[in-house]
Amino acid sequence: MRDWRYRLGEHRGTLLAFVFFILMFTIYASNHPAGFTANVVQTAANKGVLLALVAMAQTFVVLTAGIDLSVGMVLVLTNCLASWIVVGSPVMVGLGVLGVLITGAVCGAISGAIVIYGRLQPIVTTIATGAIYFGIALALRPVPGGDVDSDLADAFTGRLFGVIPSSLVALLVVVLVIWVPFRRSEIGRAAYAVGSSQPAAYMSGVPVRAASFLVYVLSGVIAAIGGLFLTFITASGEASAANGGSYTLFSIAAAVLGGVSLFGGSGSAIGAIFGALMFRTIGDLLFVFDLEPLWQPLFQGVVLLAAVCLGSVRLFQIRNRLDLFE
């Protein structure tokens, strides 16, 4: 009988993000001049899925109480790489996709190895590795350009059966193939344990280092999937520092909106996905209500601040002021 209450408690952040997103999206779609059509949903989905992927990538690392400021740059690097190698014969395209994913994994593994085995702080490490990845991206694409296999691009950004945005289906597959097994595996639980209390995790004999390393690798892979997706949408590669930076920052915002704790140990990538979709919808809402797009950052900031405030209500219950600083 009490089971459902505990389950609800565990997924509260995710559910809240889901409800808020549905609410906002309904308002958006019902006020859209074109109405609630497959086209409107498809455009929204393509924009949303991109941020959702980056937010997911961020979530893996944040769960272990780390942070990855290189996700945006991995996205940009893999975008530039994909614009070179995901072209040609089907075999070449297939190898190209694989190459992009491996590149993402390697990027993540480098950051992870430095943070975990070199014992450096994640913030500085990922700023540095991020800058390196961006440097490589610039070398690959000094000026925007390139191409991508158009059949593949259409397949991933179009619609299935005329109604379902295929980007959403692709996202679902990523969740089922990467997130769900991770969440239910021993090493995934170890990642949560590390984020929640590293000393307790160590004392309990949990594979602390393996879990911390794996999250960076997975983060890199998912950022690379995001990079592929960006290439499918834009059909070109561009080494844009502004893009990389804003995706990194938005990914953190989306994760927080989705109920992922920056202190680590609680939250879910699914929450982060809805957080990302929500964050995107804020911008779209301004559009349908004919507000200046200039207001967008301000509104996104207000929403983010409100979400963070909700998360810190518990601080009022603390009885020892020294605990406030932990």
């Binding site: 089971d3 929640s196 309990s204 140990g265 020294l322």
Partner: protein, 508 residues
Amino acid sequence: MEGASKRYGGVKALEKADLTVEAGQIHGILGENGAGKSTLIKIMAGVVEPDEGRMLLEGREIKFASPAAANQAGIVCIFQELSLIPDLSVADNISISNPPKKFRLIDRRAQRRIAEEALARAGAEDIHPLAPVKDLPLSRRQMVEIAKALARNPRVLILDEATSALTAADVAKVFVVLKRLRSEGLALLYISHRMHEIAELADRCTVFRNGRNVATYRAGEKSDNEVVELMIGREYSHVFPAKRPLAASDKPPVLEVRKLSWSGRLKEISLAVRAGEVVGLGGLDGQGQRELLLALFGVLRGVSGEILVDGAPASISSPSAAKTRRIGMALIPEDRKTEGLMLPMSVRVNLSFAALDRISRRGVVDRASERRLIDEMIELLTIRTDGIDAPVGALSGGNQQKVVIAKWLMVKPRIVLLNDPTRGIDVGTKVELYQLLRKLAQTGAAIVFYSTDYDELIGCCDRVLVLYDGAVKRVLAGGEITERALIGSALNIGTRGEGAAMASGTSV
């Protein structure tokens, strides 16, 4: 275990200790603070590696690189500091190190079944397996910790103060479980400060003192007083300055506390400290001494009771309120690295922090008066440093501790609270600190001094309040402050002074 030794820096925590634990027995371990019990357990549980000596399990020599390796070998330890992961559920925690799997993924149903079984074995069926650990009260968490250990099917189970947070009803349940485990053929190692628990449970007991095992005996062979006798007998290695009797005075005490309580951890504590007096806080580690000092210093929220300074009620809502001129309180914290110093910053900056309002004019630090005050302090405390702009982190432990103390002396406090200030510093510095304490008292300061070292309490204090479970159990004054009286009242057994000690052998 044979001849195990461990040093931390220059401190010998364990020296050639031997211990034999047999299957089907509960083995009690006794010893005062710092006698080497914790180190011994940490070695057995694979948390630290011994410098020398060896461990044998069923005749074979074993070595553990990590707690996980020890678990694998069947040695499971329930630590004093909890090893549970706050954000995960009870069921997740119970099978954290070896979850049941199906298709290489965690089988949640099986995991839940294991959790329910383990909780039932520990007698804690009231805990829901899906509840997140962080929402459980401390006593329930402790039960989860026990259930978690049982779920690993240990051959050797070590309980280190495992009952300290439990209610009497839970303790009774745990005892039933432990006795059943004994009959199932497990070897149990039971460390507790509660003498009556050891008396009820243990088949054999070993007493530790100064990092060595001094006696092993069958339970019931020795009286409480004989056991206390075994635990006493530390080597006196400190020199204490002479105490001076306080002249009678009708001035109100500088600091008076009436019925102070907090959050179930402090219970109606009353005390008074007059100018020139050093009042010690004694008792075992973690009986509320630290919380009492934090409560006085305005760190804790929701403290009830009255605090009077110079006979007038004072409300101290934060450390910055505590250090105002009217109250003039200073707290020398326990952990100098996190609560006392900014390690990378210079000696100058660290020293001036607390006293900035006194040495600045209109918000600007007056370098000349800062320098004067700092020189005064460095001379008073004989701090050895390469100049005042060297980072504090480069100083030795003893000198760092002096900087912490000097920092607070710069505000010229009238009330000085010290939280175990001599932990981990060398003997020479300790002696200097004792002399400083006396000097401060003679200039009219009221001093509250918590120490885990009984010698210090005996040598430095005019009176000692012995705390047990958040309440003052006994007040010792003058000649009453002896090691026997301190240990006796710290263990909360009914020893009354030297003469009566032999007569009363009952445990409470």
